[in-house]
């Protein structure tokens, strides 16, 4: 009847669907496949942008060593590294290396960028994981309370808290937490991932994972575990609260929106309790947009990790990135940034698939 209605849907509405078995449909796999293939252009675009932005104003050797070497020596090293070739040639060489998993070699300490991931990646993932737990517990818990007690004092309080979380730069929050808990109260360590004694303990491990919590469990030493956790509290809290601020707002808005929908109203008209309306009828549909946006926030968390790790000297990818930035080692910076880009693309893919699994309209 409607003039502008999408023709396909109008047609589907007209004829009853044929009986289908209730399992994951071809449509779902098609979705996963298309979504997976989308990673390639995404990463490609980012690699291209990163490469040309980094090289737009010069080669990394002059940037790092310019002024410290004679022009002849500089020129020789530039030639040796191939930075005097046309930019486009370098670009395709770089792409070719990337396909072989070669992200380049750092200039300052001469190690492959991939090995930085192997050595420091676990620290960042551990921090991000712990922060995510903080963000999820605080964000979902408070967000739901705010949606439920909408326009009441609790809602106002929670929203103010959320905006404060968001408005506080993660490094400032880190400094304040440090000041209060590590310096004034002296109950938690100020920086690092563990104390020296713990590091010694870890060196005994045959196959350390780099995830200190898992390593501590491997050792079976409660003191070591406690030490690791004590070190993790403040960084995880700082990074977690930053993300929690966004999560609270996200959960609140989406739950309020589904809570106002026709289907919740209809369920209410049949006598379903408010508690159940919020917990089931409004929650599950709200989850789809929530999870999608949360995926994007996980990417933002990696940026937050750079600042958090710098604040707490937490030796992960972010800390190393800021070290290389200070040293003007742009090959390393470029490598780490591209690494993060790939991680972000993969995380977003996984999150989108999870969201699709919840949504029967994609699943069947």
């Amino acid at each position: 009847m409607s003039a502008t209605a999408a023709p396909a849907t109008a047609d589907q509405a007209g004829k009853p669907k044929e009986a289908k078995k209730n399992r994951l449909s071809g449509g779902f796999f098609r979705f996963v496949l298309t979504r997976f293939l989308l990673i390639i252009p995404t990463v490609f675009i980012l690699v291209t942008v990163v490469f040309f932005v980094m090289r737009a104003t010069g080669d990394p050797i002059s940037a790092a060593l310019g002024g410290r070497l004679t022009p002849q020596e500089l020129q020789a090293r530039i030639h040796a590294a191939g930075y005097d070739k046309p930019l486009i040639v370098q670009y395709f060489e770089y792409l070719g290396n990337l396909l072989h998993g070669d992200l380049g070699t750092t200039m300052t300490d001469n190690q492959p960028v991939v090995s930085i991931l192997a050595r420091y990646g676990s620290a960042t993932f551990e921090l991000a994981f712990l922060a995510l737990i903080v963000a999820l517990v605080v964000g979902i818990g408070l967000g739901r309370v705010a949606a439920r007690r909408r326009d009441h004092a609790a809602d106002a309080g929670i929203r103010t808290f959320a905006i404060l979380c968001y408005a506080t730069p993660v490094f400032f929050l880190g400094l304040i937490l440090k000041l209060i808990f590590a310096i004034w109260l002296n109950v938690l360590p100020a920086s690092g991932r563990s104390s020296l004694a713990t590091e010694m303990q870890f060196s005994r491990l045959v196959s350390p994972t780099g995830f200190y919590i898992i390593d501590a469990l491997q050792l079976g030493d409660m003191n070591v575990l406690a030490d690791v956790l004590r070190h993790a509290v403040l960084p995880a809290l700082a990074l977690g609260l930053l993300t929690a601020g966004v999560f609270i707002r996200l959960v609140r808005t989406n739950v309020i929106s589904t809570f106002n929908s026709g289907y919740v109203e209809a369920a209410r008209s049949r006598g379903v309790s408010e508690r159940r309306l919020l917990g089931k009828h409004a929650w599950r549909p709200a989850l789809i947009p929530i999870i999608t946006v949360m995926g994007m926030q996980i990417a933002m968390m990696l940026a937050g990790a750079v600042l958090t790790e710098t604040t707490f000297e937490w030796k992960g990818l972010g800390f190393m990135l800021s070290q290389y930035l200070k040293a003007r080692d742009f090959v390393a910076v470029q490598g780490i940034v591209i690494l993060i880009a790939i991680i972000v693309a993969v995380v977003n893919f996984i999150v989108d698939v999870i969201a699709a699994l919840i949504d029967p309209r994609v699943r069947y």
Binding site: M1, A8, A266, A267, R270
Partner: protein, 578 residues
């Protein structure tokens, strides 16, 4: 007043299912407090279908929602609604309930069926779970029993293969089936009263007939009373035993359906009935002296304005999806000064056809000649000059004007585009004449679209469509978003202007009664094809195609006695077609 109220309350205890007494509801809005209904009194007898009719803004939805106290937080109520249970063992005042009492009453004593089944079903839960959810809310726990009940009720409302489909999600059903499921959700709780708020408005007319049958089933087999809210007098005539007429927040009349239709007491009811379009009743417009206004020429002798041969329009499918053929090889022509009615249900391709004539939709196959220009493969440059000769009136009066421009600026747009005037200021006088032509006051020029009512905007839309004195006008459901009385006036205006100006017209609508009032010839579309194409009277009186026959038989007549016969004919027809 008080005496009467006590009397009706007494009645309620004697046997009436519900008694609404002095109900007033007001809402808090940005602009202050607004009263939606005032001193509403009526009763709902047992095992009866009560139809509440009225135009938008008459407060009928608010009244129905008050019966289960399903009102927003901004609402304030006064008065009382006495609702007794099925067994007639107790009566309670709904408006005084709160919390747990209110929750247990909702659904078990009165359940609601909403207008738009798409938004009422939760997209992420199976329909079985959603049906069971109502039962769980009222204390049923046993899983097997819940499932058995859900399957049973789905069978009763006519969902085929209910055992499998109970585990389906809403998007796997068609619109009509979704509305059946919504009704099932209400029926499964076995309430004494079903409140149906425009349950068929979003549906096609053939599906509407099925849903109305289902509501009759609720009365006859489940022994429930049904309060049906509708703006459609045909629906009321079809299903209601009792009718309540509402107007601007008040009940103006209540009585048995025959009394309302044949002996309406209140002047508003009389006007409402007079405005309802009826099949077979031609619209005659007259001038001030009372002489009918006739077209100056016979359209049969006029040259063709539009000629389509084997016209096809295909929408390309997205990512690995098949293409969709909206229009599938149709032939037709429109003579100058002829009104061609194009009728069809949603997805029939009727709007696509209209849009193709106006150059809004690419023609993908066959030939479409509009005012001498071949539209298949046409370049915008070649067509632009002809655009001055084509007018278009859109369905939705809410969005057909740029909200940030005044009515004058909007109406003047075609004039400026085709350089008839240099600026809006220069065009003002002419725009004023145009507004007067569509019977709008000149002063409306400086208003913004949201400051006009739907009917007024549709007239302004007509003024814009006719601004360049086009020889072809395409009207895409121009009145389907309007109330009946407003629709009547817009149609009348339309007819008059057509007779006076004599433009060729494609009038697209889903409503056979409306098209019968205006059209010289009628074309019926179904799934992209033209199934029947003939003089209007022939189609209406002697439909040949089974689909046209079904369409005509499904259209409820605004006359309870005739509709009873008409319904029987639909049954015969459906039985014969199967």
């Amino acid at each position: 007043m008080t005496q009467q109220a006590q009397h009706t309350q007494h009645n309620a205890q004697q046997g009436d299912l519900a008694n609404i007494k002095d109900l007033s509801v007001s809402f808090m809005t940005d602009a202050g407090s607004i009263k939606a209904v005032e001193d509403v009194n009526f009763t709902i007898p047992r095992k009866t279908v009560v139809g509440v009719v009225g135009e938008s803004g008459s407060g009928k939805s608010v009244t129905a929602r008050s019966i289960i106290k399903l009102l927003p937080e901004t609402a304030t109520t006064s008065g009382a609604i006495y609702l007794s249970n099925r067994e007639d063992t107790g009566t309670l005042d709904v408006l005084s309930l709160s919390g747990e009492q209110l929750r247990t009453m909702r659904g078990s004593q009165a359940a609601m069926v909403f207008q738009e089944p798409n938004s009422v079903l939760n997209p992420v839960y199976t329909i079985g779970w959603q049906i069971e959810e109502g039962l769980r809310a009222h204390g049923m726990k046993d899983k097997k029993e819940l499932r058995a009940k859900a399957i049973d009720i789905l069978k009763k409302v006519g969902i085929p293969d209910a055992e499998t489909r109970v585990d389906y999600y809403p998007h796997q059903f068609s619109g009509g089936q979704k509305q059946r499921i919504v009704i099932a959700m209400a029926l499964v709780l076995n309430p004494g009263l079903i409140l149906a708020d425009e349950p068929t408005t979003a549906l096609d007319v053939t599906v509407q007939a099925e849903i109305l049958d289902l509501l009759r089933l609720a009365r006859d087999e489940f022994g429930a009373s049904v309060l049906i809210i509708t703006h459609n007098m045909g629906v009321v005539a079809d299903i209601a035993d009792e009718v309540v007429v509402m107007y601007r927040g008040h009940v103006v009349e209540q009585g048995p359906v025959e009394q309302i239709f044949y002996k309406p007491q209140h002047e508003y009811t009389q006007r409402l009935l007079a405005a309802v379009p009826r099949i077979g009743q031609h619209l005659v417009v007259r001038d001030r002296k009372g002489d009918p206004i006739e077209r100056k020429t016979d359209w049969h002798d006029e040259p063709l304005a539009v000629k389509a041969r084997n016209l096809s329009i295909t929408y390309p499918g997205h990512l690995m999806q098949p293409d969709f053929k909206a229009v599938d090889g149709i032939d037709f022509e429109i003579h100058r000064s002829e009104v061609l009615g194009l009728v069809g249900e949603s997805g029939s391709g009727k709007s696509t056809t209209g849009r193709a004539i106006a150059g809004l939709q690419k023609v993908t196959g066959g030939s479409l000649n509009v005012l001498g220009v071949e539209m298949n493969g046409v370049k915008e440059r070649d067509f632009k000059a002809k655009r001055a000769d084509i007018g278009f009136v859109f369905q939705d009066p809410g969005s057909s004007f740029d909200p940030l421009m005044t009515i004058a600026e909007n109406v003047a747009e075609p004039l400026l585009v085709h350089h008839k005037f240099g600026s809006v200021a220069e065009a003002k006088n002419y725009v004023g004449d145009l507004l007067e032509m569509v019977q709008l006051p000149r002063v409306y020029m400086d208003r913004y679209p949201h400051e006009l009512s739907g009917g007024q905007r549709q007239r302004a839309s007509l003024a814009r469509g006719l601004a360049l004195k086009p020889s072809l006008l395409i009207a895409d459901e121009p009145t389907s978003a309007l109330d009946v009385s407003v629709q009547a006036k817009v149609l009348e205006l339309f007819k008059k202007l057509q007779a006076e100006i004599g433009f060729a017209c494609l009038f697209i609508t889903h409503d056979l009664a409306v098209v019968d009032m205006l059209a010289d010839r009628i074309m019926v579309m179904h799934k992209g094809k033209i199934v029947e194409h003939d003089d209007a009277d022939d189609i209406i009186e002697r439909p040949q195609n089974p689909y046209t026959q079904k369409l005509l038989a499904s259209l409820p007549l605004p006359d309870p006695v005739k509709q009873r016969e008409h319904r029987a004919r639909l049954r015969e027809l459906l039985a014969a077609q199967q």
